[in-house]
């Protein structure tokens, strides 16, 4: 037997899931969602279950997901919805008890669904609501149709805003922007595959935090606390580095990650989850430095969840994944410059969670720190003015994101860069 095939199992850091008792479920909804679930590649998270949901029972039978659920038979007789999301929504509402059963006892739900489709667009918000009612935190990764598919695009945007009101974090993956991914000569298909890899990375990052013991440990309570709010706008990015300067390189790659520069992405985060996985050579001091840098970059507030894991398989490679969310309700308020280590929840060892009093004390301290900082930072804020205008929370349409009205001409938003809408690939 070759060494390669031995490695993954032996070096797995994940303890048996029974220890954590946390259950996660990836749910693919509709055609695009199911194929995303099937394409997921992450290693040995045994406690992550896969569920494929569709009205089209034939499409479902091709899926390799562990569990399958077809619904809406009464309305569609097992065929597709034909793009009718109202139909899917109605069918899902009627059969919500079946899905409730599937959600029973699940702590983390990942929803994958193409919002341009009937099933994905219609059923996803319903499932998200049911999952939230069942007490799970819900992360959604949702591909959006091209903007030239005007009707579908508009519908998908409606579904997206519904979903944002319910899920804890929604990461939109607009097809327009997916075309920008991959190398210079990547084909459209390769770009979509790239998107699948990003989704895998995102889910693995969260799962690593929850299910694996690491250098800097985070547990489920931290994550659920951090994301336990309605978080409309999200950011999601990934960077990888290799060699001597791998950590630095990973940060650099993260900052130019195409996923962080989509029109729908927030540039600042109220909640930020940073997950770093690296080889044995990863030093604590360097990690500290990098986490501070990333926090400042995203202007993250009090809620930063930082996790670091050592994986011997990584060699001299380092991967950084960030997932952040901005509360839409909190709206326009710009968060102060990232406060220093004192209030990074992650820094608190696991055991301390059991002593809430200390936690509170810490938070109180950090709050007073923060207010002190605010007054002092007022003066030197001027320097950062340019950076800040870019970092403003409402950054939906790049630099025009702060304007109330959208710049619609013949069904297209002219404030969204033309190269995105026209599907022109920019090689940088």
């Amino acid at each position: 037997m070759s060494q390669d095939s031995l490695f993954p199992k032996e070096t797995s850091f994940s303890p048996p899931n029974d220890l954590t008792g946390i259950r996660a479920k990836v749910i693919g909804i509709g055609g695009a969602g199911v194929s995303l679930v099937d394409g997921l590649r992450f290693d040995n998270f045994e406690s992550v279950e896969h569920l494929a949901v569709d009205v089209d029972s034939r499409a479902l039978s091709d899926s390799i997901a562990g569990e399958k659920l077809s619904f809406g038979r009464r309305h569609t007789r097992g065929m597709g919805t034909g793009g009718e999301h109202t139909l899917a929504r109605k069918a899902m509402e009627e059969e919500k008890d079946i899905i409730r059963k599937k959600l029973d006892g699940i702590d983390i739900v990942f929803l994958l669904a193409g919002l341009g489709g009937g099933t994905g667009g219609g059923a996803t918000p319903v499932i998200a609501r049911l999952a939230r009612e069942a007490g799970a935190i819900v992360f959604a990764f949702v591909p959006l149709p091209f903007s030239w598919e005007k009707g579908r695009h508009k519908m998908a945007e409606g579904c997206l805003s519904d979903l944002r009101k319910i899920a804890n974090a929604v990461v939109p993956l607009p097809n327009d922007s997916l075309l920008q991914m991959g190398g210079k000569d990547a084909t459209a298909l390769e770009c979509f595959a790239e998107a699948g890899r990003y989704v895998s990375k995102g889910i693995s990052a969260i799962c690593s935090m929850v299910f694996r013991r690491g250098m800097v440990d985070v547990d489920f309570v931290h994550i659920s606390k951090a994301f336990n709010r309605r978080a409309g706008r999200t950011l999601f990015g990934y960077g990888q580095g290799e060699g001597k300067d791998s950590l630095r390189q990973a940060v650099r790659e993260l900052l130019v990650c195409p996923m962080l520069h989509l029109p729908n992405v927030s540039k600042a985060a109220d909640v930020l989850l940073i997950q770093i996985t690296g080889g044995t050579g990863m030093g604590m001091a360097a990690l500290q430095q990098v986490s501070t840098e990333i926090r400042e970059e995203f202007n993250a507030g009090e809620h930063v969840v930082f996790g670091a894991h050592v994986d011997e398989n990584m060699g001299d490679r380092v991967q950084i994944t960030v997932l952040g969310a901005t509360d839409l309700e909190a709206g326009t308020k710009v968060v102060d410059v990232a406060p220093v280590a004192s209030d990074v929840i992650s820094a608190i060892p696991k055991s301390k969670v059991a002593h809430p009093s200390k936690l509170k004390e810490k938070q109180r301290n950090s709050k007073s720190n923060l207010s002190n900082k605010k007054t002092s930072s007022k003066n030197n804020d001027k320097l950062d003015q340019n950076t800040f205008s870019f970092m403003d929370a409402e950054n939906q349409r790049g630099i025009f994101g702060d304007l109330p009205a959208r710049n619609i001409y013949a069904g297209e938003d002219l404030d969204v860069p033309s190269y995105l809408r026209r599907g022109v690939k920019i090689g940088i």
């Binding site: 790049g398 033309s418 190269y419 940088i428």
Partner: protein, 405 residues
């Protein structure tokens, strides 16, 4: 006796104020001009009143200081995507028994044309007269001619009440009166396209920071005006997103390396974002910059071409297309425009007699405001209502900045 007159353009990137001294001979000297960065405006609309007002006021104050005088009333440029133009027509039959056209006939036709009320919540900003037809023939001045029916039209631009009120409010806060509202595209096109070009037929496109204004002239008259809410700022935004860099760096790259079309020779080149090769600096292929800009510029001219559908007849537009405004400084923009509009395109140049420091494309509108404002736009056979400047029917010459006459 001379008179002081001002012009104000509240632009998306800069607020500009101009003060001119009109001498008794009718010549105008620009005696003061100032511009201030305007952060209160986006895409031609005021989004932050206080900031916009501040920059307009300080521009006005600077211009007044420079000229050593004060100004009482100004011409104000109007732009923004909320403006809508349409053709209003009116006609009148000649009333006198000998069929001689009198000025009251013209007035009746004009009144009829202007009778049409704008939609609720909107106000007319500007009426631009189109040719007068006497029994179907175009005539310059029909008064005294023989005929039976007069037709005339106005290309009338109406805009959102609130937006207009806000702009007026900016000026009145400085205790100034707005003498007239003038459409930005009309102001810049009267400046950049002389009477002969307008007669030959020409399209003037003013590419600003927030919006692109355009005006199409046929046979010396305005046939169409429009505002596309896309400007130089969009190029910056696109670059910032496409190259994944901060906005100030995107702006810098646009100005230093921006091109509308790529030259194959340069495709391999890289440029540095910050330029000092420090941490965070990164090389970007020149082609990526050009690609981002090219798609946006192509789209912009495609939209203009669509708006002007049927009007882009080379036989009617012998004067070709003129580009002005800050964003027209982008190299290669004429070639792209020419390809899409199917007409010869060139960058507009100022008429002679304007000082070099003023003759910048971004000043076309504010200079044009004075130019247009002092021209006589009343109906033939009628005195200009304003007796004070009524005798200045022509804006004869402009000279450069001079403190005193």
């Amino acid at each position: 006796m001379s008179k002081i007159i001002g012009a104000v353009e509240i632009g998306t990137s800069k607020a500009k104020a101009l003060i001119g001294e009109v001498s008794s001979t009718g010549s105008v000297h620009v005696v003061g001009m100032a511009s201030r960065l305007n952060e209160g405006m986006r895409k031609g609309e005021i989004v932050h009143f206080r900031k916009a007002a501040d920059s307009v006021h300080s521009a006005l104050a600077d211009a007044e200081k420079m000229s050593g005088t004060t100004v009482d009333e100004v011409y104000l440029a109007q732009t923004g995507s909320y403006l809508k133009g349409r053709m209003l027509r009116g006609s009148a039959s000649v009333s006198s028994s000998d069929n001689r056209v009198s000025s009251s006939d013209l007035q009746r036709a004009s009144d009829e044309a202007k009778r049409r009320e704008p939609d609720n919540g909107r106000t007319y900003v500007h009426h631009i007269r189109t040719p007068i037809l006497l029994d179907g023939r175009i005539v310059q001045d029909p008064v005294g001619m023989i005929g039976s029916k007069i037709d005339l039209g106005y290309w009338s631009i109406d805009g959102d009440d609130q937006a207009i009120k806000q702009a007026l409010h900016v000026i009145s806060n400085y205790s100034l009166d707005v003498k007239d509202l003038i459409l930005s595209s009309i102001a810049s096109s009267t400046m950049m396209a002389g009477p002969d070009l307008r007669r030959a037929g020409t399209l003037v496109i003013d590419m600003g920071a927030g919006v692109t204004d355009f005006a199409l002239y046929r046979q010396g008259f305005v046939a169409y005006t429009g505002v596309i809410p896309v400007g130089g700022d969009h190029l910056t935004g696109d670059l910032s997103m496409g190259l994944r860099i901060l906005e100030p760096y995107a702006e810098k790259l646009k100005i230093e390396h921006g091109k509308a079309t790529s030259e194959p020779m340069e495709d391999g080149d890289d440029v540095w974002i910050i330029g000092n090769k420090t941490i965070g600096d990164r090389a970007i292929p020149r082609k990526a910059i050009t690609d981002v800009i090219h798609v946006r510029i192509v789209e912009l001219f495609e939209i203009i071409s669509k708006e002007l559908e049927g009007l882009l007849d080379p036989d009617e537009l012998k004067g070709g297309v003129l580009l002005t405004g800050g964003a027209s400084l982008l190299p290669g923009v004429e070639q792209v425009a020419s390809k899409i509009l199917g007409l010869p395109v060139r960058k507009a140049s100022f008429p002679t007699g304007i000082a070099n420091e003023l003759a910048q494309p971004e000043n076309a509108t504010v200079l044009g405001l004075l130019h247009y404002g002092l021209e006589d736009h009343s109906l033939p056979g009628k005195k200009r209502d304003d007796t004070e400047v009524g005798f200045l029917s022509k804006f004869r010459k402009m000279v450069g900045l001079s403190a005193q006459d």
